[in-house]
Symmetry: none
Subunit: 285 residues, 2 copies
């Protein structure tokens, strides 16, 4: 029986592991995907401490090495099931099975993607998945936001501080939020451009100029384990109390998956903070 299994090898999970290890505990970290950061095509510029921008993927690797250096056990495997049995948890990955008194969910939120011609070509060259990350680069450009719900509205809130030349594309979905910008509801058929993004072509044959596109469709999500266990989810985020504990005793969640700012600094902070609460929880058992 393990004391602590952390699912996720990103900033939140590794930061938690580092603080727990240094507090004399023995966390095990399991995860394969690098999560949101590995998809992120731009280098990271806004996480403190790096004179030169660092690729998300490289940052994740640094974090894993940092944890290993401290003697933390890291298992590079995909977790495929998480179950609760009595007062503990069963964690099943492709190649391993564990039991643990506590589990920390730190797998992040699946990021946006679109199967539209040009999406992959222009991702990072005009197409962005994060308004607060990249909005500033497009402060004097024509901007499009793709989405129809609260996530789109949120990105719009961020962007309108920087730029007023914004059009919302719902990509065929009904608009669920009131917005004060032009709205195009026709489906997007293609992203246009040569080296850089230049425009959007829609099903009705129109072409719209756009140098920056922010994708914010539906909600950014991957919360299957938690949903299955009956964790309270609100607005596509796991609900946790002030100790980062979900409504299931011993099940903690940190990082993007609990919402708030989807930022490395916040994930790292969560990881630091949860360690104290896990110590307290284990002591109370």
């Amino acid at each position: 029986m393990k004391d602590i299994i952390i699912i996720g090898v990103g900033p939140a999970g590794i930061s938690a592991a580092i603080y727990l290890k240094r507090a004399g505990l023995d966390p095990v970290v399991i995860g394969k995907d690098y999560g949101a950061l590995s998809d992120y095509p731009e280098k990271v510029e806004n996480y403190y401490g790096f004179g030169e921008p660092i690729l998300g993927e490289d940052l994740i690797k640094e974090g894993i090495n940092q944890a290993k250096r401290l003697g933390i056990e890291i298992i590079r495997d995909s977790v495929i099931a998480l179950d609760q049995i009595d007062d503990h948890f069963k964690v099943k990955s492709v190649e391993h099975k564990f039991q643990s008194k506590t589990v920390v969910l730190a797998t992040g939120k699946k990021r946006q993607t679109l199967s539209i011609p040009g999406f992959n070509k222009f991702k990072g060259k005009g197409i962005s998945l994060c308004a607060s990350c990249d909005g500033y680069f497009f402060r004097r450009k024509k901007i499009a936001v793709i989405g129809c719900g609260p996530y789109m509205a949120h990105e719009l809130d961020v962007l309108k501080e920087i730029n007023q030349d914004i059009t919302v594309f719902t990509h065929g979905s009904p608009l669920l939020e009131l917005v004060s910008f032009p709205v195009v509801t026709s489906k997007i058929t293609r992203f246009l451009g040569t080296d850089k993004l230049e425009g959007i072509e829609t099903e009705d044959g129109n072409i719209y100029q756009a140098q920056g596109i922010f994708v914010a469709i539906g909600a950014p999500s991957s919360i299957d384990f938690a949903t299955k266990l009956g964790v309270v989810v609100e607005k596509n985020s796991l609900v946790v109390d002030h100790t980062y504990q979900t409504n299931i005793p011993g099940l903690f969640a940190i990082g993007d998956v609990i919402g708030g700012k989807l930022q490395i600094a916040k994930a790292v902070y969560d990881g630091m903070m949860v360690s104290d609460h896990i110590k307290t929880y284990l002591k109370s058992k």
Copy 2:
């Protein structure tokens, strides 16, 4: 008139500057000392993202370079005075003067202190850390100012309006400023007195009468500035609300100086979080 001046070049201040800049604002960061991290003899192992441990001093340098790369104005100078005038602030450093709508205190927790016998005993009973706060109480007493640089000179400027019976003690350091008062360069070995401060003993065996001593070594800390402005301080931390604002509108504080975990991850998080609140504050003006 600047929008935002951040005092402090450590993790909290630089993180705030990065987020503000990327939100389209134009923060100016002023600071000279590296703060707590530079004194820290061990390498940093628990701040996420470094496969190899990093010296605190090197981390600070990385952060400064990171900010500069983003076009943030960084002024390597000691702030020696902060005053509130109407609805804005005047910031004075050794070589510059600024006015700003908001100020962020991020200089860490280091306070003026001296490991000299009698210091703690007479702190508040003759030994003061703020000339403009306490100078008036000593208007008819013998006063000593301890310090050798611009901060000392600034405190002297304040005090000489109130009292002319002043001696400057450099406590073994070379005098860096021209002053029109007697100067003692010998090291201080003891503060003398029974209930109240009565004098200063120096290494060369001399004893000087003094009922009031003002310590002005190096540069003032955030707590020193804040105390002078009437910010509520509890347990040696500045009290801020959930927006990181002190009881003085437009004066924000982040990092070690507001207490909580004295950790880099927390300081960086504070910096990220305060940026939104500063944007909101500036917009409300």
